[in-house]
């Protein structure tokens, strides 16, 4: 039994189905990556798992618990963190305020969690009083991840965390993501930079037209000649 699993997910945004019997799962402390061509339904699969999409069929389970009927807000309380692709920070709020808002649902003292986030992302500690909108793209992504970590989630879902950042920053972000996974959090992310993402993935899903095409370890997918030819550009 996987820790988080979206099983047999079928559905779309009201019109035709985008996902067809798609299954995605991730274990604690593991990095799972969803890759695939444009329009394959990668982000849609992620949204379905987070409850932002009404599924016609399929179930989502988080640690044995059926959460299929929950709203995204309820899922946050249940232990899921989500970093959207765009608009993932409060631009006019300072870095520290962003983290405080991440912890909005917590009534206990979250200063310890904030220190953990700052030790994970030291640059944020430096810039804690600066508005998040003034930071660079990579730093902003760190704020976004930090904000999602403030609820102490069991699962962290990232929708294209490296979209629009330079290759150096991308490597740095991936390193941070591995650090987060090493704290025992399950990480599920959608990535455009398939090759680099699969290199750090414990598990990879190649989606095509809303269906699971290949599912294997990241390493095995990178070695698979068919995957290389069709999706990784040789």
């Amino acid at each position: 039994m996987s820790f988080l699993i979206g099983e047999g997910m079928t559905g779309g945004y009201g019109g035709a189905d985008i996902l067809h019997d798609c299954t995605i799962s991730v274990e604690k402390g593991e990095v799972a990556v969803i890759v695939g061509p444009n329009g394959a339904g990668k982000s849609t699969a992620m949204k379905a798992i987070f409850g932002m999409l009404q599924m016609r069929e399929g179930v989502v389970r988080l640690g044995e618990r059926d959460i299929t009927g929950m709203t995204p807000q309820e899922r946050v309380r249940a232990g899921m963190g989500f970093v959207p692709q765009t608009g993932n920070v409060f631009r006019t709020l300072t870095v520290q305020e962003n983290l405080e808002m991440g912890a909005f649902i917590r009534d206990d003292d979250f200063s310890e969690t904030m220190e953990q986030v700052f030790s994970l992302f030291p640059v944020l500690a430096e810039k804690r009083r600066q508005p998040a909108g003034e930071l660079s793209g990579g730093q902003r992504q760190q704020v976004a991840v930090g904000r999602a970590l403030m609820t102490k989630p069991d699962v962290l879902m990232l929708d294209e965390p490296t979209a629009g950042v330079s290759p150096i920053v991308m490597d740095d972000l991936f390193d941070k993501i591995i650090d987060v996974a090493n704290t025992g959090i399950a990480i599920l992310m959608v990535e455009q930079n398939a090759r680099q993402a699969l290199a750090i993935a414990d598990k990879g899903y190649v989606l095509v037209q809303g269906r699971n095409r290949f599912t294997d370890t990241g390493e095995a997918l990178l070695a698979n000649p068919e995957v290389r030819r069709s999706f990784l550009g040789g």
């Binding site: 995204p72 959207p84 608009g87 993932n88 409060f90 709020l93 305020e97 909005f104």
Partner: protein
């Protein structure tokens, strides 16, 4: 030297002090408009009449207190009635949100739908106020009227010109400073205030963070209605209360909010003073000011008034149009309407 002092006293008496008081009143009104815009994302046309309604409650209670013989001594009785007026306006705003705006929020209507709905609300508030208190001009200031009288000032200083400082002007400035400090403290330091700013900044992410939109909207109405009542009462004490004038105030208030950058509380304050100073300085007749610093033979025959006071609203209108044409997001980079 004495001529220059006399000229400065004239300027302070007729331009600077009145503009400061009027600017503070506009700023308080514009803060309400800007907060509603930041959180609910529409320009609330009913704000002027919400001010009128709150002020009306304050006046009715002032009369009641006066009849009971309850007063604040040198301070106007209206200040005692103000908290009750705020409660009435808050209840009205909350009720309106429940009956009108919530419906459109649920439907996720376009901002323009909200604006038109607020025009309807404006007419209803308008009628409500007129049913209860009529349309006539009402003066409700009591207590000590002056802090410095013009005659006394002339005696003290020996200058030819007098400077009058009315209590209502000082009350306006003191209350405005206290209210603005409290508001900024709330927005910057409290959890709820930060949640309000977060919701205004990025609604989707705020929802994702577990911020309750219903609560944020409610608190915004409470603050906006409180600000409206305070602004309306101070304006009424300073000048007079007439429902139609409060409806007309909407224009300078919107101009203030837009000049400063709508959605930006700082901008609303700056905008309030910019509009007030422009309006007063453009419609002031400078003849008396010039008579102190200009040789007799150079004096013009006219009043040296750029614009008749009848046209004072044109000033706000011109400012509004110019800002929207040249810099639509205002001085402090607010949103674009």
């Amino acid at each position: 030297m004495e001529d220059i002092l006399n000229a400065l006293v004239v300027l302070a008496n007729f331009v600077i002090i009145p503009s400061l008081a009027y600017g503070a009143q506009l700023a308080l009104g514009a803060l309400g408009v800007t907060l509603i815009y930041a959180v609910l994302r529409f320009a609330n046309f009913a704000h002027g009449d919400l001010m009128a309604f709150g002020t009306m409650t304050v006046i009715l209670l002032t009369w009641f207190f006066q009849a009971q013989g309850i007063g604040l001594g040198p301070l106007p009785t209206a200040l005692l009635a103000l908290p009750f007026g705020i409660i009435a306006a808050v209840l009205l705003a909350m009720g309106t949100d429940r009956v009108v705006y919530r419906f459109y929020r649920k439907k996720r209507s376009a901002p323009v739908t909200f604006v038109i709905a607020s025009v309807g609300v404006m007419f209803i508030y308008n009628a409500l106020t007129r049913i209860f208190i009529g349309t006539s001009d009402i003066r409700f200031e009591d207590g000590e009227r002056f802090i410095i009288r013009a005659g006394e000032f002339r005696e003290w200083t020996g200058l030819a010109e007098g400077l009058a400082l009315r209590s209502s002007q000082v009350h306006t400035l003191v209350i405005a400073v206290v209210v603005v400090i409290a508001l900024f403290w709330f927005l910057q330091k409290t959890r709820t205030g930060k949640a309000m700013r977060a919701y205004s900044d990025n609604e989707d992410l705020a929802l994702l963070s577990g911020i309750n939109p219903g609560r944020v909207v409610l608190i915004t109405w409470v603050i906006a209605a409180a600000l409206a009542t305070i602004a309306g009462t101070l304006y009424g004490l300073d000048k007079s209360f007439r429902p139609f004038n409060y409806f007309m105030l909407l224009l300078p208030i919107f101009a203030s909010a837009v000049v400063g950058g709508i959605g930006q509380p700082f901008g609303a304050i700056a905008g309030g003073f910019i509009v007030a100073f422009s309006e007063v300085s453009v419609t002031y007749a400078y003849r008396r000011f010039l008579s102190h610093i200009m040789p007799e033979e150079w004096m013009p025959d006219g009043l040296v008034q750029l614009l008749s006071t009848d046209y004072k609203f044109a000033v706000s209108f011109i400012i509004l149009v110019l800002v929207l044409l040249v810099r639509p997001n205002g001085i402090f980079k607010g949103r674009v309407i």
